[in-house]
């Protein structure tokens, strides 16, 4: 290998080893983020605090409320009247209130049926929707039990049987952890590279490099190679944690995972280099990297929020977000398997983006001063 290039790479490695913050991004960050997300973030609601108001307790009401006491989704709290319950909901102690009015027993099995009021705290609308679904589930169970007790057939005309593929227990960890790998790789690739390149400009060491015989493509390669290796190290750590600590299944093959990740890492490095070729101070480069790469990887990649539900114009923007393609590949590889129909088009998009970013960087970074 070219001696100038090896020299640059050696220098970069020394800098990485001597500045703990680079190592922090590459290894500590994946660790912290994965632990945070793996343990801290969960969309699986269980033991939701639910207020029950029974205005006239009796055998009928207790058969109804028993369904909620027994459900693992709810933790019930009894209130004597609706006002107290609603105040508790206002203060955030409970998330929903079920009210069985005075006339519950009398109205029960009348043609109109007994009205049961469900009051949700709508501030967190996602939780509100989930609660409403769980209440319906408990309600249907009660209908069946009630009919069985009275020796009748079930009173529910149509009942849904659900089959959830790829993630039958609906563990949110199973999709959060693979998606998070995309965020981590974006951080290592784009943020770290943008910062180290901008640092050379800011400290004036880039000028020193420019007067040496190294060519610009050697400078770029000298940055690409060390951080590529660092990124792959971070990836190996993340995958190991995903598989053994969080027990996310990997149904696709490991080599496809690493190949796709290498492709994405090159794209992310390209973004980082491009940012630093435009923004030559660390403050600006850091800001641009966070806003241009990290936040989109979080929000516009389909990692948490469904892309198809976004407004059309935002959907168009997501097409230039590299993380979008990588998240699709990751979630499919981990949970579904080697589905080439998903992997190939997304990989092709990554190749295209990588070419564009690296091409622009190469064009932007000439050996010249401003």
């Amino acid at each position: 290998m070219n001696i100038r290039l090896t020299g640059l790479i050696r220098k970069e490695f020394l800098q990485i080893v001597r500045d703990p913050s680079s190592i922090a991004i590459a290894f500590l960050m994946p660790l912290v983020l994965l632990l945070l997300f793996g343990y801290g973030v969960s969309l699986d609601s269980e033991h939701i605090p639910l207020g029950l108001v029974v205005e006239a307790p009796g055998a009928d009401t207790s058969s109804f409320t028993a369904e909620f006491h027994e459900s693992r989704y709810f933790k019930t709290f009894a209130y004597t009247n609706t006002r107290n319950a609603v105040q508790a909901m206002m203060a955030g102690k409970i998330n929903a209130v079920i009210v069985l009015r005075q006339d519950f027993a009398r109205q029960l099995r009348q043609p109109d049926g007994a009205p049961v009021q469900l009051i949700l705290n709508g501030v967190d609308e996602n939780t509100a929707r989930i609660i409403s679904g769980y209440v319906d589930g408990s309600f249907q169970n009660w209908l069946e039990h009630d009919a069985a007790m009275r020796g009748m057939q079930s009173e529910i005309p149509v009942r849904i049987e659900q089959r959830i593929w790829f993630n039958s227990e609906l563990r949110s960890r199973n999709f959060l952890v693979p998606g998070l790998i995309a965020v981590i790789m974006t951080l290592i690739g784009a943020l770290l590279t943008a910062l180290v390149m901008a640092r050379e400009w800011e400290r004036g060491t880039m000028e020193a490099l420019l007067v040496t015989p190294v060519s610009m493509s050697e400078v770029i390669l000298g940055k690409l190679i060390p951080y590529f290796l660092l990124g792959m190290g971070g990836l190996a750590l993340s995958v190991a944690m995903a598989l053994w600590l969080f027990e996310v299944p990997l149904r696709g093959s490991l080599w496809v995972l690493f190949a796709a990740s290498a492709l994405f890492l090159i794209t992310a490095l390209g973004m980082g280099l491009l940012i630093s070729s435009v923004a030559k101070s660390q403050f600006v480069a850091g800001q641009v990297a966070i806003i241009g790469t990290f936040l989109p990887a979080f929000i516009l990649s389909g990692f948490i929020f469904d892309i198809n539900s976004m407004p059309k114009i935002v959907q168009v923007i997501t097409h230039v977000i590299a993380a979008r393609y990588y998240v699709a590949i990751l979630q499919t590889l981990f949970l579904a398997g080697d589905e080439w129909q998903v992997i190939l088009p997304n990989a092709a998009a990554l190749v295209l983006l990588a070419t564009i970013f690296l091409g622009l960087t190469w064009r932007n970074t000439r050996k010249r001063l401003e």
Binding site: D19, V41, M90, V123, G133, N167, Q287, I304
Partner: protein, 368 residues
């Protein structure tokens, strides 16, 4: 004393605003974030692509399928004629759900037995899958109600659901007040986390320490710019939330500003703490980042704190964002009066004063 503090504050503002890119970075990115977050961050699903595989030829099943087709939550992309096509459609992500109606559907229903339909859902994103199941459940529930009524039997109990504070369950009403907190934190932290680190990197901090200024004066001078910019940022985003995103604001403005003031104490305090530990700007930036990501994730911004394991829930007690979000959503959506928010406000004050005190101590005691 105040003259010296004023001088330092002016100098800090000059350092921040002197170059064009630095100025742009303070204004443009928060605006972009507000728009992107405001429009993209939603858990609602629209037009879920689905396919139907129906083996039943009766009229009743046609009514049920029409109910799905008429819903704006679902978008029919394929009618399947045989079972083997189900798996490829879901695996390749062309549909999120396949609705399967068995051959006996109409017959069961007409003879008074419970009919079963099957939904097969792509579980790769478990939250989306859960919502799809819920949406399908709502449609079937309505169908059941109409069916029972048409048979003259009626259900023994019917549930009336009311969502308070957000009657149409709009995702945006939940996220946009949170974004006020998120952007205020982001901008304030970036401004303060780099302020001391920049001086250390350039060696001018030592000079500052040998001036007649006392550490308290330096602290105030360094804290004020972040504070003012934070208040400005919070005001801007709040205005955008109310007038652009049309999120209702029911509470009192004074209560909101007490919350913003106390929150900024903590944000500036933590920012200066990080800044005085950092030796270079890169470390300052990364430190801010290391604080912000957990602060946002463990604040209840997107996922409820209640879902976290008990030990992580205890950890969130020192997170200023956690309290600020309750204040924001409380004043925006719930119109919570001041006295109900006191349990959120006093921890903010404690965290703020403690972090500022530590930052001031670090100024003096960390020298290289």
């Amino acid at each position: 004393m105040w003259k010296r503090i004023l001088a330092l504050t002016i100098k800090e503002f000059l350092a921040l605003l002197k170059d064009r890119k630095g100025r742009l970075v303070l204004v443009v990115p928060p605006l972009i974030q507000l728009l992107v977050f405001g429009y993209a961050a939603t858990f609602e699903l629209k037009q879920v692509p689905y396919a139907v595989y129906s083996e039943d030829r009766g009229n009743v099943s046609r009514d049920l399928l029409a109910a799905f087709r008429g819903s704006s939550s679902f978008n029919l992309v394929a009618q399947l004629q045989n079972e083997i096509r189900i798996a490829p459609l879901i695996e390749s992500k062309q549909v999120l759900m396949v609705l399967r109606v068995g051959p006996n559907f109409s017959a069961d229903l007409l003879s008074g037995r419970t009919s079963r339909i099957q939904i097969i859902v792509d579980g790769r994103n478990s939250n989306t899958a859960m919502l799809v199941v819920n949406y399908a459940g709502t449609i079937v529930k309505q169908f059941n109600g109409t069916w029972a009524a048409s048979q003259g039997s009626g259900m023994p109990v019917h549930i009336e659901t009311r969502a308070w504070f957000n009657p149409n369950l709009e995702s945006r009403w939940f996220f946009v007040p949170g974004i006020v907190g998120l952007l205020t934190l982001l901008v304030t932290m970036l401004v303060t986390a780099l302020s001391v680190a920049r001086e250390r990197e350039q060696g001018t901090f030592d000079q500052l320490l040998v001036t007649p200024m006392s550490p308290v004066e330096i602290l105030i001078g360094k804290a004020l710019p972040g504070f003012l910019i934070g208040i400005l940022e919070a005001t801007l985003v709040t205005l955008a939330a109310v007038f652009w995103f049309k999120v209702p604001f029911l509470g009192s403005i004074a209560t909101l500003y007490v919350g913003i003031f106390l929150f900024l104490l903590s944000a500036v305090g933590v920012g200066l703490m990080i800044s005085s530990i950092a030796v270079t700007q890169q470390q300052g930036l990364l430190g801010a980042f290391f604080f912000m990501v957990p602060a946002i994730i463990l604040s209840g911004f997107a996922t409820p704190i209640r879902n976290m394991p008990a030990i992580v829930q205890d950890l969130t007690l020192v997170n200023p964002m956690r309290y600020f979000l309750v204040v924001l959503r409380g004043t925006f959506l719930q119109g919570m009066p001041f006295h109900l928010l006191i349990p959120e406000l006093w921890p903010l004050a404690v965290i703020g004063i403690a972090s500022l005190a530590i930052a001031g101590w670090l100024f003096r005691n960390r020298m290289y």
